[in-house]
Symmetry: C2
Subunit: 331 residues, 2 copies
């Protein structure tokens, strides 16, 4: 239905035929056939880690390997630093649930992990978040497959003796409805148990309680690649933040302070990417003006006659592009 | 020996320890162990296609796959267009052998293939090139392995009933000396026989004789990815060049006119890369100032306090870098 609407818009605005295409298929058959076709020269993908790595393998095993830009998995850790937690723990708890439940938690930048030092301030944060999540309405997820994966992930948390349930959101009545969830775990258990570290795609998050700052750092160092890492911090937290930053900027494509990772501005400076497995290729962004670089490769035209050069490269700069000439930017 | 000299220069100029490292090993053991080590995050490599693809596989099979920039194989086709061939065939023949024999043919950009329409003008080119190559001195190659691969490649040409020997250079007297070679083949045979299309790393080149311009185009379309593609052309060849250009710019990282592919200027605009198998990753250059991008990934710092930002990103631009602000370049 959406595909047909886009197709109509393409015709109405006289955009070239083929600017939008849509192929439906269940499982990986259609995707793998496309990636294996020699006419395809690069791939962009958003989906599960298993699906993305399968496409990466297909692309690498072609006679001519091609780039795959797969956005696969991210739990987007949020670090609550001590002074911020003390000053505004309850408010942070409410805002956190707002970010967690947006779009049934189906944002790649959904905050799936909160990390902080244990104590009464963190208890206040968890209590406020728990109260808020109880009021969170159930929301329909995109596909039955996504819903089933979500349910299975949450069941794993419920069944684990290492994770403690704080609260659940409202139960859904229709099919494929995501019931929000909030759990806590001790940092030592989190570090020891890979099941607690896996992404649950949907509105469920885990609060990791650390004994001290050293344990916060150990958790940060233990994390896989992420799209985002967030610091909730006040001025007095700058020194603590400075200790975490070298760890976080090696693990995420976007490091932010005092916001929530969901919700991005699509602009020139944006980065929507991150180290593996957040994406298969951390050298690029999948959104924003710089995203086009994923599908380009440089070509040098050496000593070609003006008549054969692309307009943007001709003498006198007829296309008025911003250019480097002998390493200096043209005015 | 060279490694020790570089090491001394590093100390003398007080460069950081570790800025230069050298590990020796035969076979692929050392290379594969390095690529498999989780502390390694990206790989640059120059060598054979078999070696490069082995490293690509190792890198992809790591728990955390990493980028591999392998420069592997290129035969750098040179196209002699009709008017240029008519006006200066003999001079082109001599200059060609100069490029072919430079450094015992051990440049990644060595012209291993010449493509032109058959006729008396091409015969004159081949005759001049043949005379010149006879005087070419034998030169010692870098390693016994490279020499053996060269000898085996040339033997394949000699044994083939599809390739005709024009002339050989002087025979060497010392070990591992490369004897230059020039062969011709008909385009139809070249297209049908993969052995004729393989790279011979060293001073041997093949002239492919085409029946007409359509056959020149078919040969161009049939080529694998290359570092360079060269047009020898006069003003009256512009229309022919315009027909070839869309094919060549899809197959090479550097398209040049009226030069020889060996010899590059290391500058901001240079591209030393090309479609697979010239390199494993055509999105980058391995030489020139842009080469550093191969080892970078973008990180977005969103709303971070000034004190935590890298100097280059702080308000007032204290590091005086050329920056985009809201999509406009700062003066």
């Amino acid at each position: 239905l959406v595909g047909r609407a886009v197709q109509r818009a393409v015709h109405k605005h006289e955009l070239p035929e083929g600017v939008f295409s849509l192929l439906f298929g269940s499982g990986r058959e259609v995707g793998q056939a496309l990636v294996a076709d020699p006419r395809i020269k690069a791939v962009g993908f958003t989906g599960s880690r298993a699906g993305g790595t399968a496409l990466m393998k297909t692309a690498q095993n072609r006679p001519e390997p091609i780039p795959v830009y797969a956005e696969m998995s991210s739990i987007n850790p949020v670090f609550l630093l001590p002074e911020a937690l003390k000053a505004r723990g309850a408010a942070l708890g409410e805002a956190f649930i707002g970010s967690l439940t947006m779009g049934a938690g189906q944002f790649c930048t959904n905050p799936g992990l909160v990390i902080a030092i244990e104590g009464p301030e963190l208890d206040a944060f968890v209590a406020a978040a728990g109260e808020t999540i109880k009021g969170a309405a159930a929301q329909t997820m995109l596909t039955p497959g996504i819903f089933e994966a979500y349910e299975s992930g949450v069941s794993g948390f419920s069944a684990s003796d290492k994770a403690t349930e704080v609260a659940r959101g409202q139960r859904g009545e229709g099919p494929n409805q995501c019931q929000a969830g909030l759990f806590t775990a001790r940092a030592a258990d989190f570090l020891a148990d890979e099941a607690l570290q896996a992404e649950i795609f949907g509105s469920t998050s885990l609060v990791v309680k650390c004994a001290d700052l050293d344990e916060v750092k150990r958790v940060a160092e233990h994390l896989e690649g992420q799209l985002t890492a967030t610091l909730q911090m006040d001025d007095a937290d700058v020194d603590v933040a400075r200790q975490l930053l070298p760890i976080l900027e090696r693990r995420a494509g976007r490091v932010m302070a005092n916001g929530w990772p969901t919700g991005v501005e699509v602009c020139d400076a944006m980065v929507h990417g991150g180290p593996y497995p957040a994406t298969s290729d951390s050298r690029t962004t999948s959104v924003g003006t710089a995203a086009i670089h994923r599908f380009l490769r440089p070509v040098c035209y050496q000593s070609l006659p003006q008549a054969l050069l692309p307009e943007a490269l001709r003498d006198g700069n007829p296309a008025s592009v911003s250019r480097l000439v002998d390493g200096k930017r043209e005015a």
